[in-house]
């Protein structure tokens, strides 16, 4: 197997792009990534997307996007695994290059969530759960996370403000990211006064509905030097790529308070790369809800069970902390365009490793981890990147 490197990235500022369609925002990210890479020819485009069918009545998305971008006579496929679609597509790109089946692959995560009204977007998101036994009862994704958070608070004696630190950290970091949806810090008071969406989850625990697209160009590491010339910002290597699943429905989990798929995929990633959790300089985790930050830190080895929220309370997650997370705003502040999120995480990790993160730069960062969660913890994809 060949090792794989990223030689170009591109992203659309996350927001409510009512003036642009899914094809336009995807093109914006793809053309930026291809220009930066200096790649004139690609062999395949893999698109990570969750909701184009249900919200836009548009399937066959990868071929549509390739056509619009002028990428003809190449392989195209859309990869869907709910909110983990982006990282799943990225992993397919890695496998295609690693195997030798393709030499140059572009991966684009794209989601357009604001073309529809709130109720239908909420219903679309709920399709990531079990349609007959979860969504049929009116539970939403916020609702499923709220069920986890309530039980977590009950079992581990976590107070209601235990999770505030995750949201405050994300907004503090996103304030310096030009591509983030919300570019301003929030206070503890803002968090405490935020209205409830599904008790005990308030608006400041929750990532926003938005539009976004991000892209990355992949080549075999042995060929990266062909592209890294002149003003090229340098290649970033994929040190590990791993995915694991769990039961689709939250109610079927052996332990609803433990992200077994996060544990398994991160363990696989640590094994592949020979890197331990303590050697990782920053961690772009899936903070769709603050409770997911706590559970992700526990499952990947940064905290014992029931103690993930202590890392936020102790500010061990800030830029100078033990494990900086959501360094460019995370899902909470940058935004969570669901099928695009996994590729934004890869793009932001690349920015950090190339030293291009501006005021959010983690000093001397050489190894970063990303983790993208689909559903309430059913599909979890972990990547470790390094220079």
């Amino acid at each position: 197997m060949r090792t794989v490197s990223i030689i170009g990235i591109g992203q659309m500022p996350v927001g409510e792009h009512w003036d642009l369609s899914v094809r336009h925002i995807a093109h914006h990210a793809i053309s930026a990534a291809l220009t930066e890479a200096g790649a004139e020819q690609v062999d395949a485009l893999f698109v990570g997307n969750m909701l184009s069918g249900s919200l836009l009545s548009q399937e066959h998305l990868a071929t549509l996007v390739a056509d619009f971008c002028g990428l003809r006579n190449i392989e195209t496929a859309k990869i869907e695994s709910a909110c983990a679609s982006g990282a799943s597509a990225f992993r397919v790109g890695c496998m295609a290059v690693a195997s030798g089946m393709h030499d140059v692959v572009i991966v684009c995560g794209v989601e357009k969530m604001t073309d529809t009204t709130g109720g239908s977007t909420t219903a679309g998101l709920a399709t990531a759960s079990d349609a007959e036994y979860e969504a049929a009862h009116g539970v939403t994704f916020v609702g499923l996370n709220a069920l986890i958070m309530r039980r977590y608070m009950h079992e581990f004696n976590a107070p209601l403000d235990a999770f505030a630190g995750f949201s405050i950290n994300a907004h503090r970091n996103g304030a310096h990211n030009d591509n983030a949806m919300f570019q301003k810090p929030i206070s503890l008071d803002t968090y405490l006064q935020a209205p409830m969406i599904a008790t005990p989850i308030n608006i400041m625990d929750s990532s926003p509905v938005c539009d976004g697209a991000a892209a990355a160009v992949l080549v075999a590491s042995e060929r990266a030097s062909q592209y890294v010339t002149g003003h090229h910002p340098g290649a970033v290597q994929i040190l590990a790529s791993a995915s694991a699943n769990d039961t689709l429905a939250l109610h079927d989990r052996k332990d609803p308070l433990f992200l077994e798929a996060a544990y398994l995929s991160s363990q696989k990633a640590y094994l592949q790369s020979g890197i331990t959790a303590e050697e990782i300089d920053f961690f772009e985790l899936h903070d769709a809800f603050t409770i997911m930050s706590a559970l992700s830190l526990e499952a990947t080895g940064y905290a014992r069970r029931g103690e993930g929220w202590h890392l936020a309370a102790d500010d061990a997650i800030g830029a100078g902390g033990r494990i900086p997370i959501s360094t460019l705003g995370g899902l909470k502040s940058r935004g969570h365009p669901v099928g695009a999120t996994g590729v934004y995480q890869i793009v932001e990790a690349t920015q950090q490793l190339r030293g291009e993160a501006g005021k959010s730069q983690i000093q001397n960062a050489t190894i970063g981890m990303t983790q993208n969660i689909g559903g309430s913890g059913a599909t979890i994809v972990t990547h470790i990147l390094g220079i």
């Binding site: 109720g119 909420t122 009862h137 009116g138 069920l147 039980r151 969406i197 599904a198 005990p200 609803p256």
Partner: protein, 134 residues
């Protein structure tokens, strides 16, 4: 959910019909082809008692299309006394009175209406269970 899907799942929605695994004897709900505990073929059918307790709950304010008329409502994870957990709405109780560990029992209620002239979907919800006095 489509009419066909509603018809297929009627025994589950109206009577919590699951299965008992013939190999490991675990109760399974909803029915599966493969037992999640021992990976052998699942079955035969077994109807749950409908009693259980609240594992967790949430009062939901932002709800999907089709559920707006009932907003806000409380959704719970209910651990059935046979073992499986189900996701369902609570009824006949205010959210402030719900607590983790509360005994509940299944009742049949309206889940949603599909548009102005559409079909009404019925299914299980759970209400507080009060044991009869001796």
């Amino acid at each position: 959910m489509s009419i066909a899907s509603l018809w297929r799942t009627r025994q589950q929605r109206y009577s919590l019909q699951g299965e008992i695994c013939p190999d490991c004897h675990q109760a399974i709900f909803p029915p599966r082809d493969v037992c999640p505990y021992c990976s052998e073929a699942a079955g035969p059918p077994h109807t749950m008692s409908g009693r259980g307790e609240v594992y967790s709950f949430t009062k939901m304010f932002n709800v999907p299309d089709g559920f707006k008329a009932q907003r806000p409502y409380t959704v719970a994870l209910v651990r059935l006394e046979e073992g499986p957990m189900v996701t369902a709405q609570l009824t006949d109780i205010a959210e402030d009175d719900v607590h983790i560990g509360m005994p509940v029992e299944m009742v049949t209620r309206k889940l949603r209406e599909e548009g102005d002239s559409g079909e009404i979907v019925y299914g299980y919800k759970f209400r507080p269970f009060f044991a009869a006095a001796d």
